[in-house]
């Protein structure tokens, strides 16, 4: 991260992704990963996965990971700017839709939107988890952590923090 142009690239990318981030921050991780790790090399895949992990372990909405990514790339100021860049465009859409929604009730069109969008969202969220798992794991035991966490979080009501803590302990020991 050297220049104002790089900051502009990151912020523009986040603002554009905001408009298509159906499913939330998780849905756009692969694309942010592509920019900051694969294309620009602003951080390693492990660092990226770690920032995501931090955002999940800490209290607050996971979207705050955008601030961590911005901060890692260009300091605290870019961290705040990155969060705003990602939140503002979709917030304006949500505001416009909310105004319209509270005036009109659900129609056939609204139902079709819901049913037709859902499978895409599911595929995108699963892809995010997959990309994150391969980014974090450098060792078969770390892969086991990802698999165990997937299974336990899917079939039990265990608090996510326990899985995060268990992951940290296993990671520190191997």
């Amino acid at each position: 991260m050297e220049s104002l142009a790089d900051a502009g690239t990151l912020l523009g990318h986040l603002a554009a992704l905001s408009l298509v981030s159906v499913g939330g921050a998780h849905a756009v991780f692969p694309d942010i990963f592509r920019l900051v790790v694969t294309e620009r090399g602003w951080m390693t895949g492990t660092e990226f996965a770690t920032l995501v992990a931090l955002s999940q372990a800490a209290p607050g909405p996971n979207v705050l990971v955008m601030a961590l990514i911005g901060q890692r790339v260009g300091g605290v100021g870019l961290g705040v700017a990155a969060l705003v860049a990602f939140c503002l465009p979709c917030s304006v859409i949500a505001w416009l839709v909310a105004r319209a929604h509270f005036r009109a009730a659900g129609s056939r069109w609204a139902r079709a939107m819901r049913t037709g969008f859902a499978p895409v969202t599911v595929g995108v969220v699963l892809a995010s988890g997959f990309v994150l798992a391969t980014g974090a794991a450098h060792d078969w035991r770390i892969y086991l952590v990802a698999m165990a966490s997937t299974v336990l979080a899917s079939v039990t009501r265990l608090h996510p923090l326990w899985l995060i803590v268990a992951g940290a302990v296993v990671g520190a020991l191997v």
Binding site: A49, P59, R114, A118, G129, A172
Partner: protein, 180 residues
């Protein structure tokens, strides 16, 4: 909606502040508890409706819920109050955490711990996808669409906007034609 006085922007701010600082590993359950049980501003049915819409829209679900609820009670000012309440305090915490992490990033066991945390978090994301998938109707076109989205991103490395802009309208079209 329940016959309550619409909350002020200040009340929206403090309610979402409490949601934001307590949401370890996912904010949504706590938001429901606060809005439906503690404040009684909306019913469960209304919360479900907000969530459906939030999931449909771009942006983090909980941010969209804050925007829509704020808009409903206090317009744009209410929406801003909700989002700021949700994010301001955790943002300060996150930036501090990020700074600390960068100081200690090279300690080997800490690197391992963070890799473990990353893997566990990846598992949490996968479990969210799995739980979402369970809620879908198991029809061939639904499975095909979800698989196409997954494969396009993981194996074809296509950019997300392209994937969503192609697959989502396709899904809506299919659902539209099948709806009666």
């Amino acid at each position: 909606m329940p016959t309550v006085t619409p909350p002020t922007s200040r009340a929206l701010f403090t309610a979402f502040l409490s949601v934001g600082i307590s949401g370890f590993g996912g904010v949504l359950p706590y938001a429901r508890r606060q809005l439906v049980e503690v404040k009684r501003w909306i019913t469960d049915a209304e919360m479900t409706e907000l969530l459906s819409l939030a999931q449909l829209l771009p942006g983090p679900n909980i941010v969209n819920v804050a925007i829509m609820l704020g808009t409903r009670f206090r317009g744009a000012a209410g929406a801003a109050a909700g989002v700021l309440g949700l994010t301001l305090v955790p943002l300060a915490l996150f930036l501090a955490l990020g700074a600390i992490y960068q100081q200690f990033a090279e300690v080997p066991w800490l690197k391992g711990a963070f890799a473990g945390v990353g893997a566990a978090a990846a598992g949490l994301v996968l479990s969210v996808g799995i739980r979402f998938a369970h809620a879908l109707e198991p029809r061939a076109w639904v499975i095909a669409l979800g698989a196409a989205g997954f494969l396009a991103i993981v194996f074809a490395h296509l950019p997300l906007p392209l994937v969503v802009l192609v697959l989502a309208p396709l899904g809506v079209l299919i659902a539209w034609r099948r709806a009666t």
